[in-house]
Subunit: 192 residues, 2 copies
């Protein structure tokens, strides 16, 4: 393998990590290819070697986590008891937040993400609705619906907030899970 080819995947990974950092800092629409290229120390043309359009970068940054979320929702829907559905979804969502931190906050609040992936990844809006549906159940009360929206947005943004970036994964996961369960009226675990 030549020196040229050697770092292809490494550069691609660095590019995605850099793009994510800039996206969370400036928003997707507020981040230009020039900014990404500059941060990487290459030119715009080099970026275009790895991705043929900006939307592709946005999709590549968010898709892995979105696919995971899709699986989490499907697994939760497959649970038989209502309580288990909520527990499964909440645990999975919090775990996703903790492992991806800023990413979940990004696609929870940045309109640029939705715009960029609407032609690619399977129905983003539909996934959100299924997420809420699992949390509120059939014939939801208003209180439950509002609590579900507060929980989803709050957990995602708090998990990606710089103020909590210093917390280790296990600590953050336990705290977010406890708050989520409190919000949704699920019993807290006695021990860990």
């Amino acid at each position: 393998m030549t020196a040229d080819v050697r770092d292809a995947e490494g550069t691609r990974a660095r590019l995605l990590a850099t793009a994510l950092r800039l996206f969370t800092e400036h928003g997707v629409e507020g981040t230009s290819l020039q900014m990404i290229a500059d941060a990487l120390g290459v030119t715009k043309a080099a970026v275009y070697y790895h991705f043929k359009a900006k939307d592709e970068i946005t999709a590549a940054v968010t898709e892995p986590a979105l696919r995971e979320l899709e699986t989490i929702v499907a697994d939760a829907e497959a649970q038989r008891r209502r309580g288990a559905q909520v527990d499964h979804l909440l645990a999975g969502f919090v775990d996703l937040i903790v492992r991806h931190r800023a990413l979940v906050a990004l696609f929870s609040s940045d309109p640029g993400v939705a715009r960029a992936i609407e032609h690619a990844a399977g129905d983003f809006e539909g996934l959100k609705e299924r997420l809420v549906s699992v949390l509120v159940g059939p014939e939801p009360e208003l209180r439950t619906t509002v609590a579900a929206h507060v929980a989803l947005a709050g957990l995602a943004l708090a998990g990606g907030a710089p103020y909590l970036a210093h917390l280790d994964d296990d600590t953050l996961r336990a705290e977010l899970l406890d708050i989520g369960r409190r919000l949704l009226g699920r019993p807290r675990r006695a021990a860990r």
Copy 2:
């Protein structure tokens, strides 16, 4: 008064309302002056008559609510008992969300807002920190800190979410307040 002057304030108000709508839909950076002008049925040059730069529009859209928030935080800080500080801040914040809906969600999550106003409005980041400080108090526990971040982000985004846009002000305020108090460990009110 001439016909030209007559609608000056009316146009300015319509412009700000239109800009807010587009900002929440596409994000600040994802909204161009051309989009605002088109939505208003005027040209870009007409927009520039009212505001000499895009950042000024962003600032004008957000500043009224930010000034209110500044007052709310100051009033809360002036309370003598800890419980009263939290109660005051929470009630004020929720009321602000309900009256401005999408606006609070906007400056809670859109990086474009922070960028646009950092040279104008007095310390935005500082205000956020004072807000959190009131909620968590001196020597805060981790659980409280995380809960405060979840509450602030969750209430703001849920309050501006399209899914809850149909709720009337009184209903939304009561629901958000109850959830906020539950999150922050404050006793719920018995009656309304």
